[in-house]
Amino acid sequence: MAQPRVYMDNHATTPMDPRVLEAMLPHFTQAFGNAASRNHSFGWEAEKAVDDARETVADLIGGKAKEIIWLSGATESDNLAIKGVVEFYRDRGNHVITTTTEHKAVLDTCKALERKKLARVTYLPVDQYGRVSAEQVREAIADDTVLISIMLANNEIGTIQPIAEIGKVAKEKNVFFHCDATQGFAKLPIDVSELGVDLLSASGHKIYGPKGVGILWVRSKGPRVRLTAQMDGGGHERGMRSGTLNVPGIVGMAKAVEIAKVEMPAEAARTQGMRDRLHRLITDELDEVYLNGHPTERLPANLNLSFAYIEGESMLMGLNGSAHADLPAVAVSSGSACTSATLEPSYVLKALGIGDELAHTSIRFGLGRFNTNDEVDYVAERVIAEVKRLRDLSPLYEMAKEGIDLKTYFAGAQH
């Protein structure tokens, strides 16, 4: 039997809700048809399932069913939104505005466009909490600006951007506005009209649905947004994304959305309660623990803390089962899961102006639907024990307690 373990990394991915699995199962073996098969009932039932799913997902964000493009996930969605708009509207201009703390799926897409000389990109800096202002966006807009791409909520620090205010500026200046909503979708209420966005990306596996499915919502009216397809083939999804539809995945994502629509308010309150409890238990016992991200404008289930004087990876090693194999392991992350292989401190934390020395000490806790208060208490206990142990090992903690100013002491130290 598998060792008991606690999963608290729900920004990376979520376990699938059993109700989602149940909804998907018939679409593997019985209703397995190709949604593009027009000549028999296998195809018709698949198409019906996909169309129903389109309605469900569009309904959650106040969009229209025909505005949903199914694809493989948020990375593909960000790529299609940004590359698709830039390419289609190249006669209008090639300037793109984004922020320094976007997900790599946005940043690397922008960099790829720059490399190919297809776009000029402005990366707006964020404040100490990770926020960008509508004013910054307004000032960055030029005559040749075609697209603004700003995330709803950050995957590392949970900070929520003022999307509705930015949306007003975008509308006023007639610039398309793409929002990567991966972390906020089905967690926070979203209405695309209220937010004033024109394109919106989301993924199935962050919302207790399956991996390998996601959406790009594309406004069809006021203004109609057009895209150049990045995948050519059978002309699926109104020509914007060719490829046989992942019917079980689509049904699963829709089921996850259906559940979220009902349970979102209670779940947000519950995860926030657990998040705050975890934060309080930790800070009651430990000094010099700093919250990264915005104190209130943040995802309800996100907690990102820097534990001064101890290094994040050593902390993970103490929690994730590499050491202390006799204890149930705790899954959390340091930096983001995508970059923790590089040993570089998180670029998101660096963008907040947090010094490298604190960025190295950060841990991200992602609460979720299936966490319990008992797990929160256990994680708090393990974190506290591990931080105390590692601070006893830390020369920096000792020096700081002796009153030595570390910045001065290590000024000019070799890296």
Partner: protein
Amino acid sequence: MATYSEKVIDHYSNPRNVGSFAKDEPNVGTGIVGAPECGDVMKLQLKIRDDGVVEDARFKTFGCGSAIASSSYVTELVKGKTVDEVEKIQNSLIVQELSLPPVKIHCSVLAEDAIKAAVKDWKERHRKDDERAA
């Protein structure tokens, strides 16, 4: 993330010779190397007899598990060796003993630096003591 060798896990879980000697003790050499910005700082202290033999060692390390393990291992390695022998310890020995993967070699380099810094500190203090005595 890297998977860790059993020896790294052992040193990380049960670090040897953690702690500090009083810095002003004349027979103690202290080396503090690395920088918080880089995610690695090691403090290594060697207590060295007048005949040049390392009789005891202590460390404290801020860094990843491999950095902690490298410095913990070094405190065991140096005990009973002469200053001349200790100065010749190379990081490759630490890499080998702990089976460090390529991305963690810098931890062993830092541990070697810490030994050299501690010996240098001891020599400087010793010289001063000798000068004072003379």
